[in-house]
């Protein structure tokens, strides 16, 4: 199976690898895993006072498509509101990266990581 040029690009030069302070009240952390293949993905978002995502970081242990999917969404997330971020669908990720059917679950993982990060952030804000 051949990876698309876009996947290779993100795989070789992943954007926004790293971590944000998970105890920061403005940081939401989403952690998900793919039981189909054992990939694990951590995605973090940081919002400013206006509720706009100003930073996003990820760390993924998985195949090239999983790394590319998370790298791509960190780029997409910056500048979006939480509502807009919530709208990101795995099909958009798969389309952008030209993922073959057997790798669709990697884009599902990235979508679910976004939702988990948003849920974590909302949970924190609710408690505060």
């Amino acid at each position: 199976m051949a990876y698309s040029q876009k996947v290779i690009d993100h795989y070789e030069e992943p954007r926004n690898v790293g971590a944000l302070d998970k105890n920061d009240p403005n940081v939401g952390t989403g952690m998900v895993g793919a039981p189909a293949c054992g990939d694990v993905m951590k995605l973090q978002i940081k919002v400013n006072e206006g509720g706009i995502i100003e930073d996003a970081k990820f760390k993924t242990y998985g195949c090239g498509s999983a790394i590319a999917s998370s790298s791509l969404v960190t780029e997409w997330l910056k500048g979006k509101s939480l509502d807009e971020a919530q709208q990101i669908k795995n099909s958009q990720i798969a389309e952008e990266l030209e993922l073959p059917p057997v790798k669709i679950h990697c884009s599902v993982l990235a979508e679910d990581a976004i939702k988990a990060a948003i849920a974590d952030l909302k949970h924190k804000k609710h408690q505060a």
């Binding site: 952690m31 998900v32 895993g33 039981p35 189909a36 293949c37 951590k42 679950h105 599902v108 990581a113």
Partner: protein
């Protein structure tokens, strides 16, 4: 020279691995018995035993040999053995949309991957062996639990544990790869 006809080989090619290896379809199988049965099957159906037969039969014997190999690999590995048993019981796991796992488990996974990365980049064989040992222990406990559930016939409960086993399986592969890079 073994007398074997085409229909017999064809039927062996389509039997499930437990039947092929003449083993009870249970999770708790003896690895030594499995290995001996594997050697015997490979000896019995070795392509060299079928030199004086038709081309069609020769080709089928080669396929059967491959079928025996993949049967051995499948039955030997606890994860693929568990999945096969569930499938024989009519339970097909579709795990691709199932990404929610306990966060403590995912955190542990992240930490194990990070530790492997560290060991790899510092070329620390001792540390890597240590992680491998830790992982074997965790896997051992998990496999025991799965075995218990199979014995109780609690097939649906097994699903959650099998999800975890996939991650350990993956970590095992990652560790083996890391050893090659040190």
């Amino acid at each position: 020279m073994i007398e074997l006809d085409l229909p017999k080989i064809k039927s062996l090619l389509s039997t499930n691995y437990f039947v092929l290896f003449k083993l009870d379809a249970i999770f708790d199988i003896d690895q030594n018995i499995l290995y001996n049965k594997y050697l015997n099957l490979q000896k019995q159906f070795h392509p060299d035993n079928f030199i004086n037969t038709t081309k069609e039969l020769k080709l089928l014997v080669i396929s059967l040999s491959a079928h025996i190999n993949s049967g051995y690999t499948t039955l030997k590995n606890p994860l693929s053995r568990a999945l096969l048993l569930l499938e024989l019981n009519g339970i097909k796991l579709n795990l691709s949309r199932d990404t929610a796992l306990p966060s403590s488990f995912l955190l542990e996974q992240m930490e194990l991957h990070e530790a492997i990365d560290d060991a790899k980049s510092t070329k620390n064989v001792f540390l890597l062996e240590n992680i491998q040992l830790q992982l074997k222990e965790k896997e051992f406990l998990l496999i025991n639990k799965i075995n218990k559930l199979f014995n109780q016939g609690d097939l649906l409960e097994i699903k959650e544990l099998i999800k975890k086993l996939t991650f350990y399986d993956r970590l095992n592969d990652t560790i083996l790869l890391a050893f090659e890079h040190i």
